[in-house]
């Protein structure tokens, strides 16, 4: 079949896209590590807001490992002297390697860097 200029250009772009995707996959495979999932948890204390008597603390969780994780559970804990600690449980169904996900922890008192402890509880392999 004879191809006109338009057909040649669109075919060229299509092949470029396809080869580009394949090259990305190969590049990622070559550069990929096998580091298991690890989580960096960064609460944004300055962005904490008070709504209806409760403090909402935005939290950013990054999987710094190479592999994905299922059922990721992170506890944000505020110890209370003489009482049970206040625990905000954050659960993420799926976090890919290198992916960043966001959550919000809710507390009775204003959360600060001095009053909050972070505890990554568990995750499973997809």
């Amino acid at each position: 079949m004879h191809r006109d200029a338009a057909q040649r250009i669109t075919l060229g772009l299509s092949v470029l896209l396809l080869v580009g995707l394949a090259a990305l996959i190969i590049g990622l495979e070559v550069s990929r590590g096998e580091m298991p999932p690890q989580f960096r948890v960064i609460p944004d204390y300055e962005a904490a807001t008070k709504t209806e008597g409760a403090w909402s603390l935005p939290v950013m969780i990054t999987n710094t490992g190479d592999l994905a994780a299922d059922a990721v559970r992170v506890d944000i804990v505020r110890p209370v002297a003489g009482e049970d600690p206040e625990i905000a449980e954050l659960e993420f169904v799926f976090v890919a390697g290198g992916e960043q996900v966001a959550g919000v922890a809710v507390f009775d008192e204003r959360p600060t860097a001095e009053t909050i402890e972070i505890d990554v509880q568990s995750s499973t392999e997809p």
Binding site: M1, D4, S14, V15, L18, L21, I25, L28, A96, P126
Partner: protein
């Protein structure tokens, strides 16, 4: 089966746009339910790269074989043409998966490159197969049971289109409405995302009915009434898709009168994308 050109166009770029409109229309029709499947998003992010490459190879082979039977380009094909068409179908699949995943908020600044590449690579196979087989199901002679004109009165045509839109929207939306994906996607949509989702649904509806050439009646724009004008038909069909989506979500207890208005609106808009695509398919087929 060889497909003949739906219309005679002289300008090469116009003809090329027609060909890609058919491919995109087919990909949306057949692939969109899978784009709304949670496991499909995650599979690509957790699968090995070798498996992903395997998907691309299988896609290329399967599309080449299907292109021999159908394909979205008119005229006689050689094997080289079929391979070229398979590459183009897969490129269409890549672009559509990126656009839909972006609109649905599955790709954002927090996504890892590996996750994005994996998600796209997994979605390419069903989308590209949809692009390639579309002509088998929606050949240019298939619309309106082979008729190239509308025989009823404008009011009857309007009634037929409304019923076909409702039937198609419910047919496609029924499988997606009860799933967790709808509220999950809706929760991540901000106002811009909602507008983008509306735009995508309108674009898909217009493309499938008027630009793809699947239906010669619509293609020739044989206006039989207010609803048959491309702009008004697309808008009215989308409103019907929205109503159908809301009814389905309500029927499956996904939304209720007690839910926040924003949540209801976001869920209805999310489901309106497949509903709009289904409604457009309904109007093409009936």
């Amino acid at each position: 089966m060889r497909i003949h050109a739906p219309t005679v166009t002289t300008h090469p770029w116009r003809a090329e746009c027609d060909v890609y409109a058919r491919a995109v229309g087919g990909a949306l029709l057949f692939g969109v339910p899978l784009l709304f499947t949670l496991e499909m998003w995650w599979l690509g992010e957790s699968m090995s790269r070798i498996q992903l490459l395997g998907f691309l190879v299988v896609g290329l082979v399967a599309n080449t074989m299907l292109a021999q039977m159908s394909g979205f380009r008119p005229g006689h094909h050689t094997l080289r043409d079929d391979i070229a068409q398979a590459c183009q179908a897969m490129a269409v699949g890549i672009v559509i998966s990126i656009v839909v995943l972006l609109v649905m908020g599955r790709i954002d600044t927090g996504s890892s490159l590996a996750g994005v590449v994996g998600s796209v690579a997994v979605q390419v196979l069903p989308l590209s197969l949809g692009a390639t087989v579309a002509n088998l199901v929606f050949g240019p002679d298939a619309g309106r049971t082979g008729s190239t004109s509308r025989s009823g009165t404008p009011l009857r045509d309007l009634g037929n289109d409304v019923l076909a839109t409702i039937a198609g929207a419910i047919f496609v939306g029924f499988a997606i409405a009860p799933t967790e994906e709808v509220p999950m996607l809706a929760a991540g949509l901000d106002a811009v995302g909602m507008l983008a989702a509306v735009g995508l649904a309108l674009f898909a509806g217009y493309l499938i009915v008027f630009a793809s050439g699947f239906d010669p009646v619509h293609r020739e724009r044989q206006v039989g009434g207010l609803f048959q004008h491309p702009f008004s038909e697309t808008m009215l069909a989308y409103v019907i898709s929205l109503i159908s989506a809301a009814a389905l979500l309500y029927g499956f207890d996904q939304i209720s009168g007690d839910d926040p208005a924003y949540s209801i609106l976001a869920q209805v808009i999310v489901l309106s994308i497949p509903a709009s695509i289904g409604g457009a398919a309904g109007r093409v087929v009936v």
